[in-house]
């Protein structure tokens, strides 16, 4: 499986995620959250940043179900789901992720037919991989 190849701007996201925390970069001057992380604020041009903790609540904005041809590790799990979650506190920030049956479950653990655009989901993470995951609020 591919692991995140981080850059200096994005690294804090993964460090917080590995501790089970969902945080996004925000401008420390004007307060505007931004994603993906970048060196300065496109609204006020400030280079001062903070990492803002979020509730971890969101809704499914869209999803796909990939089938082969895929990289071998992913082909072995296909069909699996990839979702986009629109965060409750920042609708412009939509995180790509996987919807799973329970924290730590594999990316193909949930029947794709149970996924609906608009469904409420909650942030969790896989302790084994350190990757964020999402579970349904009402399974």
């Amino acid at each position: 499986m591919l692991t995140p190849v981080t850059d200096p701007d994005g690294a804090p996201f993964w460090q917080y995620a590995a501790q089970g925390e969902l945080r996004v970069q925000a401008c420390a001057d004007c307060g505007e959250p931004r994603f993906p992380p970048r060196p300065c604020c496109p609204h006020c041009q400030s280079f001062e940043t903070e990492w803002r903790a979020l509730s971890g609540q969101g809704r499914i904005w869209s999803y796909v179900v990939p089938h082969p041809p895929l990289l071998p590790d992913y082909a072995a799990l296909a069909p699996y789901n990839v979702v986009i979650v629109e965060l409750a506190e920042a609708s412009r920030i939509r995180l790509v992720g996987n919807l799973v049956s329970e924290p730590g479950a594999p990316v193909n653990s949930l029947d794709p037919h149970r996924i609906r655009i608009g469904a409420k989901v909650r942030f969790t993470y896989d302790e084994a991989t350190g990757l964020p995951q999402w579970v349904l609020e009402r399974p």
Binding site: P66, G97, N98, L131
Partner: protein, 381 residues
């Protein structure tokens, strides 16, 4: 200095298209460029400008010395894969209109049929957003576009039948084009609806071909064009498009991810044109994936927001319809060479030599990939 109609495409050339061609990309590039110059009736030594894609493997030095070009005074490469196709012509047109060069050649040579799939490369990390998408298994361009397609279908009621209309129009035109890879392979609704998934909601026939091949075209000033062999295809208007806060094909982090670069390019394109979308006789719209067509139809102003699916109904994209589409078969059914075949097909329509000729076609829109930073050309005879 004015850009409008100041330059024209006067030569086009291409190699055969196939899943596998024996020659390497550099040789194919040379063949396409020489064919285009021969078509224009211009000697290689007269070429002083080149333009291609950043993903093109054959560089200017290799091409120029192989085919015997003259002293070059302008050369540029455009990024973002298939988003750069029309910009190659636009850059040359701007260079010639502003006096930086006199004879320009744009080209693309690619062995995408028998060569590697870029998304399979796990050593070179793809652009920065990859860290936010690829670990979760959003690996391929088709996955990234399927995400937008699902949301588009949800928001506006577009259906798989609308996407089939796109695939069918391209296949029907390919069935008229002996050079097309799918020339002898008709498509039916049954085949489409029962084909295997690639990334739900997109199936096999929503995806472009994987092709070996090369194409080129020659651009000169309007004055020079009058002396060339064929009817000039004038570059009436051209634009690139990178919207504010856009994120590339994974444009998931803006207010409206479904409003992509086509909208930006279109505003500039029509602002500088004497024409409107209603004046376009035939369109060559970048079709790496079928959902790019309804999105582009909206972006370039052929219909309103959310109406792109419905626009495809009633044979609108077929010959005789409201907007005949991709008349050589497009990337879906002629060849996928990063959209360069769409440029050359646009020229054929204006010359009256297409294998699926739109009677009296005098204006043609050509677009590059929607989703990525893009470009577009408005050609007229």
């Amino acid at each position: 200095m004015t850009f409008k109609d100041a330059t024209a495409i006067v030569g086009i050339g291409q190699t055969p298209f196939a899943k596998h061609l024996p020659e390497d990309e550099r040789t194919l590039a040379c063949r396409a460029v020489l064919a285009a110059l021969d078509d224009a009736g211009i000697a290689p030594g007269e070429v002083d400008a080149l333009a291609s894609y950043t993903m093109e493997e054959t560089d200017e030095v290799e091409l120029a010395k192989a085919v015997g070009l003259g002293d070059l005074t302008f050369f540029s490469k455009v990024g973002y894969g298939g988003g750069g196709s029309c910009a190659t012509v636009a850059h040359l047109a701007a260079a010639i209109a502003s006096g930086q060069a006199t004879v320009g050649v744009a080209w693309r040579s690619r062995k995408r049929g028998s060569g590697p799939r870029p998304w399979k490369n796990t050593d070179a990390q793809l652009p920065t957003p990859a860290q936010w998408t690829r670990p979760y298994g959003l690996l391929r361009p088709v996955d990234e576009i399927a995400m937008l397609a699902r949301r588009y279908m949800h928001e506006y009621g577009a259906t798989r039948d609308h996407l089939f209309n796109v695939a069918l129009a391209c296949r029907n035109r390919a069935n008229q084009n002996p050079s097309a890879i799918m020339y002898d392979r008709p498509l039916t609704r049954e085949m489409y609806m029962t084909s295997r998934w690639i990334s739900e909601p997109l199936c096999l026939f929503d995806n472009c071909l994987e092709t070996d091949g090369a194409l080129a075209c020659v651009i000169v000033s309007r004055e020079r064009a009058r002396d060339c062999r064929h009817t000039p295809a004038y570059v009436h208007s051209a634009a690139q498009g990178l919207p504010a806060q856009h994120h590339g094909m994974v444009n998931y982090w803006t207010d409206d991810p479904l409003t992509g670069p086509a909208w930006t390019a279109a505003r500039h394109l029509w602002k500088h044109a004497d024409l409107t979308p209603q004046d376009v006789d035939v369109a060559q719209i970048y079709d790496a994936f079928t959902p790019l067509i309804p999105l582009s139809l909206e972006g370039y102003g052929f219909c309103g927001r959310g109406e792109g699916g419905a626009f495809t109904e009633g044979g609108a994209l077929e010959i005789g319809g409201r907007l005949p589409l991709n008349t050589g078969g497009g990337g879906l059914s002629e060849a996928y060479v990063h959209g360069f075949n769409l440029i050359n097909e646009g020229v054929k329509q204006l010359r009256g030599t297409s294998t699926a000729q739109v009677p009296g076609a005098a204006t043609c829109l050509v677009t590059a990939g929607e989703g990525v930073p893009t470009s577009a050309l408005l050609l007229r005879s």
